[in-house]
Symmetry: C2
Subunit: 204 residues, 2 copies
DNA sequence: TGTTACATGTAAGTCGTTACATGATTAC
DNA sequence: GTAATCATGTAACGACTTACATGTAACA
């Protein structure tokens, strides 16, 4: 649903190949949208057909035995991106496995529950740190994409462009922190349930 | 992916019809998982085929011109639920339209951006309140499902059962609060960008 | 010579949404 | 009688994942 727009948004900074886009959408990248390469290559062809991007075929390496395709935004593509940004989106529906499972943790061994909260904490802690680094880079205007984007924008818009990106990633940092805190409260809860509250009332 | 388990989890409290389950999964309900009725009826038939639930056909109304099917967990269904709860899940990948869009708000009119942050705030504020009410109900053990679930569980497990559910929904409350705060910071940001920081430097 | 990174695709299948379709029962 | 709610489905389509498939180029 948002994949085409996520692609247009990245291409807005400048032309890229499907491979480069794939790396951007990778789990390990600092992106808010994830997609796999089959999805991306397919979608790029579709966008090309719709006239929202154009492809330029380029030789790979000096021997020119293979080609790669660099995609660039067309004017319609840019217009579509702007139209989409202005449009209010319906709120996403909740569908969270971790929380669904957490609701039924009474069925699992305390040890297992601990492991899961640990994993949750580790995951979001890592995300938090990655996004913190990313915000630093954004503020210093040191990221590849941002530099390219700023190069193609009016000087007086620079502050605004940076501010919105920083705000978005700051939000993700806060979100990750919230998850870390939740997992930690979860760990405390299991620890408390594990050793019964009143030693006199404990069985066997 | 988690739909079958979300269904098993609900049926764990006691038998229900597809229609009742649909209401539980509705956007307006206090659930962490969303699903639509075609998905639910289809999945129930699949679970029945797999032996994880059994269906009992019941007459609808006194005239018995139509039937409804109440689904109940089988022993294998219960076992599967327990197996699933104990299993560590791979973390979900980020895919968030609101944040994706927010990264490119420089393209939208300040008025439009404001509207979107407003909508974001309103949505999560409402969720927050709903979940707060839900936690109150859980603590007082006044929800339908929880009473049914507790009725079928050993007395000494009651505290644990309630505690995990409360913890999960508390997490969702915190999450919603984080989103509300993010939207509010966003509104402040737009307001600040709208009136240029230095009146002397403003153009026309 | 072999491994890693570059680079692009197809095919099958699952998960989820939306639209279509039908009919009974209850309350006003 | 008629509207809302109860109740259950099918069909078509779109989004996403996983497995399969292929080949080049750089580097050690």
């Amino acid at each position: 649903m948002s994949l085409p727009h996520a692609l247009l948004a990245l291409l807005d900074a400048g032309p890229m190949t499907g491979y480069e886009l794939t790396k951007q959408f990778d789990q390990s990248a600092d992106r808010v949208w994830h997609a796999t390469h089959p999805q991306i290559y397919t979608e790029l062809r579709r966008l090309e057909g719709a006239g929202l991007v154009t492809a330029r075929e380029m030789p790979r390496g000096p021997k020119a035995k293979a080609v790669k395709r660099a995609y660039a935004l067309t004017e319609e593509g840019g217009a579509e991106l702007r139209r989409w940004v202005a449009q209010v989106e319906a709120p996403q529906r909740v569908r969270d496995v971790a929380y669904l499972k957490a609701t039924y943790y009474e069925y699992a061994e305390p040890e297992t529950v601990r492991e899961q909260f640990e994993a949750h904490r580790a995951h979001f802690h890592e995300q938090q740190q990655r996004w913190e680094r990313h915000v630093e880079q954004l503020r210093a205007r040191r990221t590849e994409l941002l530099s390219r984007r700023l190069a193609g924008a009016a000087r007086e818009d620079h502050e605004k462009i940076v501010a919105f990106k920083v705000h978005a990633y700051q939000g993700l940092i806060e979100r990750a922190r919230t998850e870390v805190a939740w997992a930690e409260r979860g760990l405390a809860l299991v620890a408390g349930l594990d050793e019964p509250p009143d030693p006199a009332a404990s069985a066997e």
